[in-house]
């Protein structure tokens, strides 16, 4: 069972460092020629002679903001044909019970580069347009081929809201989750790169990602695998001498609160920097006032085998669920005060007068503008992308009976489209007006899309501070057998006993045995202070069945320095990740758990020192006396005592003088 947790993803190997110096020069010159033909780059040049003055410094890190700043220079004005590989899209989808899902998606690509190309040399340069330089430098220095970062908080109500956005592949468990594919010669080397990566991300995103260490890191075997549809991941150092492999590493910090500090750095990575386009809606106050929110970043390396060049793709997503009536009410009164009597919605079929009111459920008619939800309108299009910023409202097709309506508001006029998608094309302030006469009716593209294949919940059981149990409930509401991979990484101080794993099933699953549902198990035991328990199993849940898998564990004692210095709150156990393979692919995470360990009274060492010292003092004193003093009888002692000391002195003095 103790199989090595090494995930090797060998795809195709790219030949590298095969280009001669001359070739590099050619490339450099050719790109300069490219710049000549591309008018968009001219703005970078503030001298008369533009052909020979392009240096790497000039090209680095130029974005829209800089354009305005440089207007004073002798610069050519922006050409409308600028085309950078950047796309952004806002999807607004109503959810049941007056909730609204807002999904902000940003896609960007880096310029192509040649793998293994040494960029530290003075005659080399890299060209950055919309892809954040910080990320690219980080990926390059740590040989990271794929990077996935998630900041998620809140409770996704799957029973009522349906499937997670992007089928759960773009949201993490509560807290921060990070996984990456790193190219390295050995696992140790990969881990060192991973540490560097985590520390850099920690600084970049103002999060405690630097707390990721070996005791939190796992090497998933079945979960988190890169999608098989991709052409594969490149290995840059794949020649015989180095024999590099790809390693998949993953860690999660469940106790990390997600806040504005994490959103602002994310916005700074976007070429629009939250100042224009849909990202101008993203305000920390509103994002974190939502019922559920998730920030995600995915970076992948793509290589073109023919041209021997590679580039990075980055997807940044911000998803959130907003309860519209609460948000609108909070605009008026920040505190949710009692509804004024005149606005009470009472059930008139029940006793109703000025003394009593049986409340009705929330009103199901809504009418609002997106600026009311986010506090401001969309400040124009992003203006630098291949495509204009796009906003879609997913309310089904426009037809007579659709109770929903979505309109684009520009300069006081409203516009509608057939598919409720709007392209924002210029610098105006845009707003979206959405209204519904019946929020319970939500136009869905297809029924299938809303079906949640599996509900998973996990809880701690047991009594007392020395042991406990873990109980995971899988409920399959569909008519298909679900095949899924359950991934769990538990801290070493939860000593799991796999032998105690038991299956409890409801009436529909009666007669099932543990071996019937769990087909294969990958288990890496924990090492105290060094490695977490890593458990992955493939589970098959029959249609319409609810299963509970329980497992017992012991709670270990921590070393005193391992207790957090702050509040004694308990230890968060990160979410379990369930990746559904069949009938369709989907990913869900359970909620995090709070494990309370016995916490010592930290003033106790002081008491122990005092008691030990006292006992030692007593023993030493007695022993010393026995060793150095003469043993005499009581009579002898009395006689000696009468000859020495103050008393005898006085007696002798008395004798002398009296």
């Amino acid at each position: 069972m103790r199989s090595g947790p090494i995930a090797t993803i060998c795809c195709f190997i790219l030949n590298v460092v095969l280009f001669a110096q001359a070739t590099e020069l050619n490339v450099t010159s050719s790109s300069i020629n490219d710049h000549d033909t591309n008018p968009s780059l001219e703005l970078l040049v503030d001298t008369d002679d533009k052909t020979n003055s392009i240096t790497s410094n000039d090209i680095e890190d130029v974005r829209v903001d800089d354009i305005n700043e440089r207007e004073n220079f002798n610069v050519i004005t922006i050409n409308d044909d600028i085309q950078y590989p950047f796309n952004e899209k806002l999807l607004i989808r109503p959810l049941p019970n007056n909730n609204l899902l807002a999904s902000f998606a940003f896609e960007m690509e880096s310029e192509t580069f040649i793998p293994g190309h040494d960029e530290s040399r003075s005659d080399q340069y890299r060209h950055f347009t919309v892809f954040p330089k910080a990320i690219e430098a980080m990926l390059g220095s740590t040989s990271t081929r794929q990077l996935h970062l998630r900041f998620t908080r809140g409770f996704w109500d799957a029973e009522s809201w349906g499937r997670l956005p992007h089928d759960g592949f773009k949201s993490g468990g509560s807290g921060v989750e990070l996984w990456a594919i790193i190219e390295a010669g050995s696992q140790k080397e990969a881990f060192d790169q991973w540490k560097t990566l985590a520390n850099s991300l920690s600084g970049l995103f103002c999060a405690s990602i630097n707390f990721i260490e070996s005791s939190r890191t796992t090497y998933p075997v079945k979960s988190f695998q890169p999608k098989s549809t991709e052409e594969g991941l490149p290995i840059f150092g794949g020649d015989e001498t180095k024999n590099n492999k790809l390693y998949l590493l993953r860690a999660s910090l469940a106790n990390e609160p997600i806040c504005t500090e994490n959103l602002t750095p994310l916005l700074k990575l976007l070429p629009t920097r939250g100042k224009s386009g849909i990202s101008s809606l993203l305000d920390g106050h509103k994002v974190f006032d939502s019922m559920w929110h998730s920030l995600s970043i995915d970076v992948t390396t793509h290589c073109d085998f023919n041209t021997q060049t590679c580039k990075y793709d980055m997807d940044a997503e911000v998803d959130m669920v907003i309860h519209v009536p609460y948000t609108l009410a909070r605009n008026e009164h920040p505190i949710p005060r009692p509804t004024p009597n005149s606005e009470l919605r009472c059930d008139l079929t029940k006793p109703y007068d000025i003394y009593q009111c049986f409340p009705l459920p929330e009103s199901n008619s809504l009418s609002f503008e997106v600026s009311e939800i986010f506090g401001k309108p969309i400040r124009g299009s992003n203006l630098i992308s291949n495509n204009p910023s796009k906003v879609c409202v997913d309310i089904g097709d426009n037809h007579e009976n659709n109770s929903w309506e979505a309109l684009l508001k520009v300069n006081g006029s409203h516009f509608g489209t057939d598919d409720n998608c709007f392209d924002l094309e210029n610098k105006d302030d845009y707003d979206i007006y959405i209204s519904s006469s019946n929020t319970n009716e939500i136009g869905r593209h297809s029924e299938k899309e809303e079906d949640v294949p599996l509900y998973v919940s996990r809880s701690l059981t047991g009594y007392g501070q020395d042991r406990g149990g873990l109980r995971t409930v899988f409920t399959n509401p569909t008519n298909d057998t679900i095949r899924a991979v359950y991934f769990e990484s538990l801290p070493w101080f939860m000593r799991l006993y796999l032998s105690t794993m038991k299956l409890e099933s409801d009436a529909a699953g009666a007669g099932l045995d543990l071996h019937d549902v769990i087909t294969s198990v990958h288990y890496v035991t924990a090492i105290d202070h060094k490695r977490p328990t890593h458990l992955e199993y493939t589970i098959e849940i029959p249609a319409g069945t609810s299963l509970a898998i329980t497992c017992q564990f012991d709670k270990a004692l921590l070393q005193f320095a391992e207790y957090p210095p702050d509040a004694n709150h308990g230890f968060e156990i990160e979410s379990a990740v369930v990746t559904i393979l069949k009938p369709w692919s989907y990913q869900i995470r359970t909620s995090t758990l709070l494990l309370s360990l016995s916490t010592p009274d930290f003033s106790m060492p002081y008491n122990v020192i005092i008691i030990t010292s006292t006992v030692l003092g007593l023993i030493y004193g007695s022993l010393y006396n026995l060793l150095v003093k003469k043993l005499v009888t009581i009579e002898e002692a009395d006689e000696i005592a009468s000859q020495v000391g103050l008393k005898s002195l006085i007696t002798r003095l008395k004798k002398k003088f009296i």
Partner: protein
């Protein structure tokens, strides 16, 4: 060492040790008196302390409570519907309530238990919390007195609705509707920690609402806090209850203080509440359970809030503001409840004594038993005999056998309780020294050794019990103390028949069952007849309360040894051969 040597020489010179040994019975009795005095002086000015909020994060009543205005209409609206459910079955009631709770997004589930009745519970997931912790609002459909908890249920659902509109929660909120505050609630709490599918993280605190009746008004609020097996909620939890209620202007009563006595703050009022708090805590689970007891044992701090009276100035919504303010206060906690005290005695809602003030009292009692043990070891003609003898071994054997017997009997009694037989058997055991007079069963040395073992066991038991369940240890020590006065009867005992009668009376008074029974009848008007035994057993079975087991194994065992030692004996010195052999 000089000082110690001098003291030792003085002690020997004055012959203090034999004097002290001969005075052991007196010193042992003085220890008991000291124990009572230590408790007795606690209500005096300067001996107790005023309560205070120890955890700064709690900040009770610092924020304005908004459960008012139109919420009043809503509470009454729900109440008008709940009144109609009075005669509905549990399933119907739960179904309707569950529908109401779902209207504002609470996830509900029903925990089915055929023995105790179904329990409806709903989890409101805090949007901004991490979902790992929760607070419970528990409402028994029928309260401890069997009354239909109309206002409580209306407040429960209205508060749950109100809470769901607030974005401030860092902990999930669980609303629980059980059939009763005893077995049904306890079984739900147990199921939550073993087998429930819908959970909301670890429960940090629980508030039980008890407001029976349909009237709008109430006079004052009662807070119940005693947990099972000597466990208490953190004093901060009780404090925020008292502080928030008094902030709303309500009077708070503890341990059944009547309305007109609440204002009183005299020595006797404090003494009365102190005595009640010891008694109620010792008999917690055995007496009426109000709901908070059900949560004890999982590091859940819980209190029951109960509205009393029907005419007072306070309204049902103002009662609801107390749990609201308490929840908002608990919600502020970043840590677990760990400041303040877990062991305390209350003298008034705002006065308490901490463990360091009252613990010495039971320590003195257990020293009293230890001295009684020494007394029966030394104060007989045989103290010169070596410790390791056949009689010591026999006494330990007797102790072990009676330990096993009492354990088995206590367990059998849980499943088939016959209190009359139990009492009859014990009375017979008390009387048999008098009945079987003249028939010597054993050597008098064994009788001394038996008592020595019994009292030593009692002393050790009290010492360990007083750390976890002070009130029970105190009560047991006090009530069982008469048995230390039992004397060995030999043929040359003067006034032999008087001693026999005295022994029987002492045994009767100090018998665990007779003493508990008499105590329940004399000191508490809640008990009648023999129902204290049924309640002890049901507390043990339904709530996991170990008072019954402690009474049997901890008290009955030494008592049996003492009872055996009260039988007529033969003097060992008469049997010269045996005596010589021992020497």
């Amino acid at each position: 060492m000089g000082l110690f040597e001098r003291v030792q020489r003085q002690v020997i010179a004055r012959g203090l040790i034999p004097k002290v040994i001969s005075l052991l019975p007196l010193i042992s009795t003085l220890c008991i008196v000291l124990g009572i005095v230590i408790i007795g002086i606690l209500p005096f000015e300067g001996q107790y302390r005023n309560t205070y909020i120890s955890e700064n994060a709690l900040m009770p009543s610092q924020a304005y409570s908004y459960f008012r205005e139109s919420e009043w209409n809503i509470v009454r609206g729900y109440r008008s519907q709940i009144v109609e459910l009075r005669n509905a079955s549990a399933v119907e009631r739960n179904a309707i309530m569950s529908e109401w709770l779902q209207q504002f997004g609470t996830k509900t589930d029903i925990y089915q238990n055929h023995e105790t009745g179904d329990t409806l519970y709903g989890v409101f997931h805090a949007p901004r919390g991490d979902g790992t912790e929760s607070m419970v609002l528990a409402i028994p459909w029928f309260n401890a007195d069997g009354e239909f908890n109309v206002n409580g249920a209306a407040l429960g659902v209205a508060l749950a609705r109100y809470f769901s509109r607030w974005p401030v929660w860092s902990k999930n909120i669980i609303v629980v509707f059980t059939e009763n505050p005893k077995a049904a609630l306890r079984s739900w709490v147990e199921a939550y920690h073993t087998s429930l599918d819908l959970t909301g993280g670890s429960i940090e605190a629980a508030i039980v609402l008890d407001f029976a009746g349909e009237g709008d008004l109430f006079d004052y609020m009662e807070i119940y806090y005693d947990g099972l097996n000597g466990e208490l909620p953190n004093l901060d939890m009780v404090n925020i209850g008292v502080f928030t209620a008094e902030h709303e202007g309500m009077k708070v009563s503890l341990h059944g203080t009547p309305f007109d006595k609440i204002k009183e703050d005299t020595l006797f009022s404090r003494l009365k509440i102190l005595m009640s708090s010891i008694k109620n805590s010792a008999l917690s689970g055995v007496k009426k359970t109000y709901g908070n007891e059900a949560f004890s044992g999982w590091r859940i701090q819980s209190v029951t809030l109960r509205a009393r009276g029907q005419n007072g100035p306070f309204d049902v919504t103002s009662f609801g503001r107390v749990p609201e303010a308490m929840f908002r206060s608990i919600n502020n906690l970043l840590e677990k409840f760990h400041q303040s005290f877990f062991f305390y005695l209350m003298l008034a809602p705002r006065h308490f004594v901490s463990i360091s003030s009252y613990l010495p009292s039971t320590v003195a009692i257990s020293i009293g038993f230890a001295l009684a043990s020494l007394n029966s070891y030394f104060n007989n003609p045989y103290y010169t005999l070596p410790f390791f003898s056949l009689y010591t071994l026999l006494s330990i054997l007797f102790w072990f056998v009676s330990l096993v017997v009492t354990f088995i009997v206590s367990n059998i009694f849980i499943y088939s309780p016959f209190p009359t037989i139990l009492l009859a058997v014990n009375i017979i055991i008390c009387l048999y020294p008098a009945i079987l007079k003249g028939n010597a069963f054993m050597k008098d040395l064994l009788s001394y050794r038996l008592r020595s073992t019994a009292f030593l066991f009692m002393s050790l038991l009290l010492t360990s019990l007083l750390m976890v369940n002070f009130p029970l240890a105190f009560g047991m020590g006090l009530l069982s103390f008469p048995m230390t006065q039992v004397k060995t009867i030999t043929s040359d005992t003067p006034t032999i028949s008087r001693t026999r009668v005295k022994n029987s009376v002492l045994l009767l008074v100090s018998n665990p069952f007779i003493a508990t029974w008499l105590f329940s009848l004399l000191c508490d008007n809640e008990f009648s007849g023999l129902d204290v035994f049924e309640r002890l057993v049901s507390a043990s079975r339904e709530l996991g309360c170990w008072t019954w087991l402690v009474l049997c194994v901890g008290w009955w065992t030494p008592w049996l040894l003492v009872a055996i030692s009260a039988l007529d004996t033969v003097k060992l010195s008469n049997d010269s051969e045996d005596f010589k052999k021992q020497q």
